[in-house]
Structure formats: C-alpha cells, structure tokens
Subunit: 253 residues, 2 copies
C-alpha cells in the first residue's frame, strides 16, 4: 500500500516545505523509494533541489491540467530513491482553470494512481491556504502530517484545517487519516515547551514524539540546493528529521 | 488624504501581522489616528490585541457581506488613537460567498470610503495568498508595503505579487503605489546581509531604509496581548518599528 502523506497547515512559514524536503530525504536514506510533490506556486520545494520551477517540464501544472499525465511522467530523480515533481511555471493559473473542471478535486489522486513507478512514499507540499491545490493534496493522501511551529498562536489555525479535513474525509476521501502533528522550529520562542505541553493535551497520541528544533542549518541548506541531511549531517535538524522518518515509518509499517 | 496601506506577501510567516500590529501602534504613538484591519481568517492580528475573532461583533465578516456597514461600525478602540477591525468568525466562508457578488473586489474600499471616523492611517493585514480577501485589500489601498524575511528564497514570491499588483492597478485601482519593501526577521539566517544587498539591487529606492531585526520580543509580545512597543519598549524590534513608522510618515507626508 503506497503511503501518500499530505503536509499541510494554512499558517504560513511553519516548516511545511522544510519537512517535505528533509523527511522525504530521510525516508529515502532508510531505503524507501520516495516521490515529493510540489503544490506551492512559489516552488520553494522544487528550488531546494536545484530545479527551476518555471522551466522544468513536464510539471505539476501539466499533470493537473492534462488527465493523461501520471505522476511518473513528471517526477524527476534528484537522488538515490528520491524523485521530485516540480511545481511548474504557473500553478496559480492552473488552480484557477481547474476550478471549472468537474473532477477538479480528484485530478492529483488519479494521476498518482495511474503512476507506473512503484514508490513506497509520496509526500505532498501544500501552499499556506485551504484552496483547491491543498484540497487536491488532501484528497490524494491517505495520511495528513501537520507541522506546527511552537509559537504563541501556533494552534489557532489547526482547528479550521481539521474541520476541512473531516469534511473531505466524509465527502470525498474516507481513507484520509491524521498521521500526527509535529512541533517545528522548537526553541525559537521562549515559551516553546509550554506550548508543546498544551499541544499534547489537545492532540494526545497524535502529537508525534519527534520534535524539530530551531536550527539555522535547516534555513541555510536550501541556499546550497541541499537537504539539511547532506548540508550538515550532524546538525540538530538533520538528526531530528532522521528521527521523524524512523517514527513515521514505524507508525505506518 | 487618508493613507491606506495594504501589508501583503503571499509567502507565509514573513512578519505581515507583526508589522501591521507594531507599525500601527508606532504611528499612533507619533500622534496619528490609526485603524488596523484584519483580513486573515486565522485572526492573528485580532488576537494580538486580546480580542476574540470568533465572538467580537460586528467584524470584517459583517462588513464584507453587508454593504451598509462602514469601517467605523466595525473598528474598536484598543489604545489611544488606535482601532482594530476584527477578523470575525469565518472569513473563509465570507470570502467564498463574496465570490458571487458583482462588486466582490471593491467591498472593502467602499466600506472605508463610507467610514465616518476620520483616521490618518488604515493598515490592512492580509492572508498568505493572493485570493479575494487580499485583492480587496489591494483595491482598497493606495500604498503597498511588502515585508520580506531575509532568508534564501525570500524574494521568489515577490515577483508574482507585483505582477498581480500591477494588474490591479491597471484594471481597478490606479491609485495603488508601492510604498516599499521592508526586510524582516533580519539575522535569522547567516546570509541575511547578502540577501539585503541583493534586495537593494532589485528594489533600488523602494527598499526602505528601516530593517526589522530577528528579536524574540516580537514573537513573545502577542502572548501577553501587547505590541512589542509596550511589551519591551527598548527591544531592538520596538526601536526598529518606531524607526519604520518615522520613515513611512516622512515618505507619505
Ligand atoms: N528547523 C528550522 N530551524 C530554523 N529555520 C527553519 C526551520 N525549518 C524551517 N526554517 C525556516 O523557516 C522559514 C519557513 O520554512 P518553510 O518555508 O519550510 O515553511 P512553510 O510552512 O513551507 O512556508 P509557506 O507557508 O510559505 O509555504 C524558511 O526560511 C526556513 O528555512
Ligand atoms: N522581528 C521578529 N523577530 C522574531 N520573530 C518574529 C519577528 N517578526 C515576526 N516574528 C515571528 O515569526 C512568526 C511569523 O510572523 P507573522 O505571524 O507576523 O508573519 P505573517 O507573515 O503574518 O504570517 P502568515 O503568513 O501566516 O500570516 C510569528 O511567530 C512571529 O511572532
Ligand atoms: Mg512552503
Ligand atoms: Mg499573518
């Protein structure tokens, strides 16, 4: 059973892209075959691997607007057992055009199911909103991972996200499960620990054990077009993302 | 001439809300009458002033869906010369319902023009996307301020934002000017200075002189429902926001 994990939180700047990049790379290091999908029109994930989101073709724009294109046609190999499906030059206008299609919410799901490549994990990076691209990610996924920066107001956005998720589960995608919530950039704010204990009261066993620390190595690695695992293998962020990969693969075994 | 400043950048977590809150408070400290508008469904700006976005009525939801409501009906006084127009309990569904209205892009502009209160500055906090709520903010504004976190990939999102802005200027709002770009959370990333010099090459005189440093006081102040100016008046962030207020009021004199 292919595990498809949507990484979503409409709060901006909480580490969604950083998590898809580094959790994906760490799962590949564990021996799994992994494909990463970039649904954010800024193409931050695509750029982190040194691909140009405006020129690399075919891209997620082609996949969403052309029913004959499967994920395996778009995903490009960037490392051993690791592929990236680039965002493309204008995901915003693709989203707009998709709005008019009757199967607008299931395009991505169908393209993954048609894929000839056999991958173990698909991770989907979503933009900081609950628009049609994020909905496509949630419909295509069977697991949802929510990065939450441990800051004041951190949890405010999670309730509306979960409300949308249960709506999608009831109406379109009964397989969608909450894999869990992962604290990110932990330590940026002095009351981070108090926030994590608040999170464990609210999310109980859905608060993952791994916590991603604030670590500038994670912020700088993309400038060298590397994951933090390659850029600084012994950094706290690299260690934490390897732990997260181990925890996720255990939970989904 | 009332100055209406939209603060926008569809990149998430770059300091839009923090800038509206603290630039607004600093302009009020300089003696101007200021109203702050929260267009983000998470209501982070509303919560930073201790208001509950779900229960405070009337709110921006009422203003957007009812043509008879003016900004002065919604804005509540939170400090001397400072008012806040709270987000409301469900801005996302209000945005959805607004899509069907013929005057969907000019509702906010009309509500500000109808306002009986005489304020000198209106600052508009927008969500991290270029949807209808942000468009309302850009149509209502005569100035655009773009906070950019000085990190790798920081400038990627600015080009699409500016493309949307010039489209809005040509079609709906000829008064919209770019007030400038302000570097935020400067210092979080080791190559921050190199990024600022890159920004000055691209934005030239539109790169404001003030820079907002990375300063945990800015991140913690909202937990005490205070602006950083009140929470820690001598902090680097408080000093920087006062400087920004001085620069903005000089430029717009
Ligand atoms: N563990 C970390 N330590 C330090 N900085 C981090 C960490 N994780 C992410 N960052 C930095 O924080 C910023 C936001 O991260 P990222 O872009 O992954 O968030 P996002 O949720 O994908 O943002 P958006 O909502 O815009 O898509 C980036 O500059 C990134 O480099
Ligand atoms: N100068 C600063 N120093 C340190 N932390 C900051 C600073 N400015 C903002 N922050 C913190 O960074 C995070 C993002 O800031 P903020 O919420 O203002 O960004 P935003 O652009 O409004 O985000 P969104 O895109 O979700 O609306 C918050 O936790 C905030 O407290
Ligand atoms: Mg992202
Ligand atoms: Mg905000």
């Amino acid at each position: 059973m292919r595990r498809v994990i949507a990484v979503a939180n409409q709060k901006g700047g909480v580490g969604k892209t950083t998590t898809v990049v580094n959790l994906g790379a760490a799962l590949a290091d564990l021996g799994y075959r992994v494909a990463l999908i970039d649904l954010d029109s800024q193409g931050a994930m695509t750029v982190s691997f040194g691909l140009n989101p405006y020129t690399t073709k075919p891209s997620m724009v082609n996949l969403l607007l052309n029913k004959d294109i499967a994920l395996s046609d778009v995903a490009k190999s960037v490392a051993e057992r690791l592929q990236v499906a680039p965002a493309g030059s204008d995901l915003l206008s693709a989203e707009y055009r998709l709005l008019k299609q009757p199967d607008r919410t299931t395009r991505l799901r169908d393209a993954i199911e048609k894929s000839r490549d056999d991958v173990d994990y698909v991770l989907i990076d979503t933009p900081p909103n609950l628009g049609l691209l994020t909905v496509n990610g949630l419909v295509a996924a069977n697991q949802l991972l929510i990065p939450v920066k441990t800051e004041y107001l951190a949890m405010r956005g999670v309730r509306p996200l979960l409300e949308s998720v249960w709506l999608i589960r009831d109406r379109i995608n009964p397989d969608l499960q909450l894999l869990g919530v992962v604290p990110t950039m932990h330590g940026a704010s002095p009351n981070a620990d108090a926030i994590v204990s608040e999170m464990s009261k609210v999310f109980r066993n859905k608060l993952l054990k791994s916590t991603i620390p604030m670590d500038e190595a994670a912020a700088v690695a993309p400038a060298s077009r590397q994951t933090v695992l390659d850029y600084r293998p012994a950094s706290r962020a690299a260690v934490a993302y390897r732990e997260l990969a181990k925890e996720v693969s255990d939970v989904l075994r």
